[in-house]
């Protein structure tokens, strides 16, 4: 594999699944990259909603935080945080919600709260933030997560959000989709294979009979992606 990074591949794969005109609840990091890439390539009508209250943001550069000034300046509307969660998310105005996590299980349930017991955690993670209601309030949940046994676990340490609406999990090895209620490997990226995905999964991973290979990023996608150069390298 050459010419693009695993993160770029993940952003491109997620971006291609966003339809023109779809309304997306976007978090910071890879989801923000993917949604902005969609907006700048095949889905100019894609609406980006950030939980800080900005609706229809069109940032020229990727923000470091979900509340950077540019998100408000380029938005169609800026609403309060209670309004965002009550009228827009709970009001079922959002089609797609992106989530990441520290852990995922075979049903798409996610943990972003603690590693270890809740009362005496080994690692206290930031917590769910908007995730619990995004997971139940949008039509389609997209998960973006690097594939490893640390993250793809047989049992979560804590269920931060439920997996009922998870439609796709994009990893650096391939694509998982729920089949009969269980995440199943349906595609691998060029250079990866089912064995690599199995080895990076903490449960016995189901693999689709017609396992596909994903299309690598096009030159146009990579160009748009790199032009969005992030402000903060750590983001």
């Amino acid at each position: 594999m050459s010419g693009y990074t695993p993160d770029e591949m993940m952003a491109v794969q997620a971006s291609r699944r966003l339809g023109d005109g779809s309304v997306c609840f976007v978090g910071i990091g890879l989801p923000s990259v993917a949604a902005n890439l969609a907006r700048l390539t095949h889905a100019p009508g894609c609406v980006l909603v950030y939980e800080s209250g900005t609706i229809g943001s069109k940032p020229a550069e990727l923000p470091l935080s979900i509340g950077d000034g540019e998100l408000a300046e380029t938005a169609d509307a800026v609403v309060s945080v209670p309004e965002m969660f009550a009228y827009w998310l709970q009001g079922e105005r959002i089609d797609v919600g992106f989530l990441g996590a520290a852990q995922i299980d075979r049903h798409g349930n996610l943990n972003s709260t603690v590693i270890g017991p809740y009362d005496r955690p080994l690692v206290r993670l930031p917590g769910g933030g908007g995730a619990p209601e995004i997971a139940t309030g949008v039509r389609d949940v997209f998960v973006m997560l690097r594939h490893s046994r640390r993250s793809f676990v047989a049992a979560l340490d804590f269920t931060t959000s439920v997996g009922d609406n998870v439609r796709v999990v994009v990893t650096d090895l391939g694509i998982l989709e729920p089949v009969d209620g269980e995440l199943t490997l349906v595609a691998v990226h060029p250079g990866a294979d089912a064995d690599a995905a199995r080895a990076a999964t903490g449960w016995e991973l189901r693999v689709a009979d017609d396992l596909r290979e994903t299309e690598p990023p096009t030159a146009a996608e990579l160009h748009a992606l790199r032009a969005l150069r992030t402000k903060g390298a750590a983001a």
């Binding site: 800080s52 950077d68 009550a86 080994l122 206290r124 209601e133 931060t160 983001a235």
Partner: protein, 284 residues
């Protein structure tokens, strides 16, 4: 008051053991007021905030907090809050009780507090583990029977927010990402608003929130008082500071030395910013 020195307002309005909410959703975070709480050595506070980021990391690391009520405790775009983690994982500098919610739950609790209702209602906390770990109850809709979540209202003793400006009578105006600040002020028994500037007259602005003087106890000039957060129309978010905070806060001694140098040994936001610039000049 209404117009007061920040140090006087914090001395008069914030008591040890109070429940205090400093709000500002990435924008207009009242850092100057947080620093003043630290300088005055406030203790035993229950700190309420949706996104306890750097300002609460500082308050927790300096031993001001007994309990944290929150929904997302990280350094936005960067990673963990090391002082928050140290308090929860190792009890340093003291144990920290957590009351954890989702963003939607926190927002509903503030809105209920502003409306002087006992609880907020939402379609939330469904199926996840948090419900068993926090103050939330399932209730049935009296009309349809639908099961919903009830969260107890936030009614802080003191609400503290930062705004772009106020007029001389103490009317406050803020705009851009307005977060949950209006609800915080209206839900709180006492309120402090720090502002970028005091002007003769507030010009109307599209999308602005106006808080009339009579819902605010103290308006305190604190230009650049949101740093490293930002004030829309005044200055940008100091993204580099948030990245640098990860290194400063990782180690207890380095954190304490930084807090001494830049907060405890400075009198106000002007001296705080000057101390940061001096350090930058040394390391440049």
């Amino acid at each position: 008051m209404p117009q007061a020195l920040l140090s006087d307002a914090v001395r008069e309005l914030v008591r040890d053991g109070d429940t205090v909410a400093l709000e500002g959703f990435t924008h207009l975070i009242p850092h100057a007021a947080g620093h003043e709480l630290i300088r005055q050595g406030k203790r035993g506070l229950t700190l309420v905030r949706m996104t306890p980021d750097v300002v609460y990391d500082q308050l927790i690391g300096m031993g001001c907090a007994r309990k944290l009520v929150f929904s997302w405790g990280g350094n936005p775009g960067v990673g963990s809050l090391h002082r928050l983690r140290d308090a929860v994982e190792n009890g340093w500098p003291g144990p920290l009780e957590l009351e954890e919610h989702s963003h939607a739950g926190m927002a509903a609790a503030y809105a209920a507090g502003a409306a002087h209702l006992p609880f907020g209602v939402l379609r939330g906390y469904a199926g996840a583990d948090l419900a068993a770990r926090t103050r939330v109850a399932r209730i049935a809709c009296p009309f349809t029977g639908e099961e919903l979540a009830a969260v107890p209202a936030h009614r802080p003793d003191v609400g503290i927010v930062h705004a772009q400006r106020a007029d001389r009578k103490g009317n406050v105006q803020l705009w851009g990402i307005v977060g949950v600040q209006k609800e915080t002020v209206l839900a709180s028994a006492r309120t402090i608003v720090t502002v970028e500037e005091v002007v003769d007259e507030l010009e109307p602005r599209p999308g602005a929130v106006v808080l009339p003087a009579w819902v605010v106890d103290a308006v305190c000039p604190a230009p650049r008082g949101a740093h490293p957060s930002y004030a829309h129309g005044y200055y940008d978010r100091d993204n580099e500071f948030y990245v640098a905070w990860d290194r400063i806060s990782r180690d207890r001694d380095r954190f304490l030395a930084w807090m001494r140098r830049h907060v405890l040994e400075t009198a106000d936001v002007g001296e705080y910013l000057a101390s940061l610039q001096e350090e930058e000049a040394v390391f440049a």
